[in-house]
Amino acid sequence: TVGCVAVDMEGRCAAATSTGGLMNKMTGRIGDSPLIGSGTYACDLCGVSCTGEGEAIIRATLARDVAAVMEYKGLGLQEAVNFVINERLDGGKAGLIAVSRNGEVACRFNTNGMFRGCATEDGFMEVGIWD
């Protein structure tokens, strides 16, 4: 699975996710990536793209949950991302990337690694695989 989230200079967030799914999957199997609110979500607060055990991400409505806890609990982006990865996956394995309308970027995963890269206008840039 691959994904990208971005917030532009107008503070507009967007998210996109694309995948081939699971190796040896049944034909017709649909995972989390095309499900808005599970694998992908964006609103005025943030943009989120997820990857991992699709079935766990669907159960957790993971991407929407990041936006929901920001909206309802007033959490900041990284706090919200930490919360959903730590508390909402019920043992499932997944990772996600997210941006906020304030130009923040966050990433978190409970797997042993995640292919990821992020950058902000402030000059922060990171590309990594392992924890």
Partner: protein
């Protein structure tokens, strides 16, 4: 004016024994895509255009599990899926079951922009693709030799693999390694997972 930010990913969960060269290739692709997105943001492109642009680039490279280089179904074919969402108005588009569309994320974008719906799948999505005139490929364009080998091993392991690939070494070596590493993922010892 706000400040821009961007993040990309190429899948979660990595074989702990991923060869250094594969790690470098992955980082170079991520860096290239990140820089593509950064220059688009600096040119004041809207975020929805930036995420589509970057995911198209990731789909076209066989290194990660999307577009070319997608994981295979039990029948050895490719069924791709994608979604895209624009924050300010929460418009969204999604597709599933694609077998010939070169860049699924762009078809998802067209569902959002050119259809009255949010999600099209399988034959309906393929028919929409033809009407929209997006770039099409034969299904085997998306299939790499690596993945054909990995499907074979997945079948031997009698398992469905989550966004990963099995080392091209034999699965039993993975099982042996599993004895040392109790870490499990999707019901299988992490060591049977190959680099993505």
């Amino acid at each position: 004016m706000g400040r821009w930010a961007i993040a990309v990913h190429g899948g979660a969960g990595v074989d702990p024994n991923l060869p250094q060269q594969r790690q470098e290739e992955a980082k170079q692709l991520l860096t290239r895509c990140l820089n593509l997105g950064i220059s688009a943001l600096r040119s004041n492109l809207p975020a929805i255009d930036v995420v589509e642009l970057v995911v198209r680039e990731l789909e076209s490279d066989p290194l990660f599990n999307s577009g070319r280089g997608s994981a295979l179904t039990e029948k050895g074919t490719v069924e791709m899926e994608a979604s895209i969402m624009d924050g300010p108005n929460r418009r969204c588009g999604a597709v599933s079951g694609l077998t010939t569309v070169k860049n699924p994320i762009s078809l998802a974008r067209l569902v959002m922009e050119k259809s009255p719906h949010s999600y099209l799948a399988f034959s309906g999505a393929e028919e929409f693709a033809r009407k929209q005139g997006v770039e099409l490929e034969q299904n085997d364009y998306f299939i790499t030799e690596d993945n054909v080998g990995m499907l074979k091993l997945a079948k031997e392991a009698n398992s469905i693999l989550f966004d990963y690939r099995i080392p091209l070494k034999t699965c039993s070596a993975g099982a042996a390694a599993a004895m040392e590493s109790p870490l499990q993922m999707n019901g299988l010892p992490i060591s049977v997972y190959a680099p993505e």
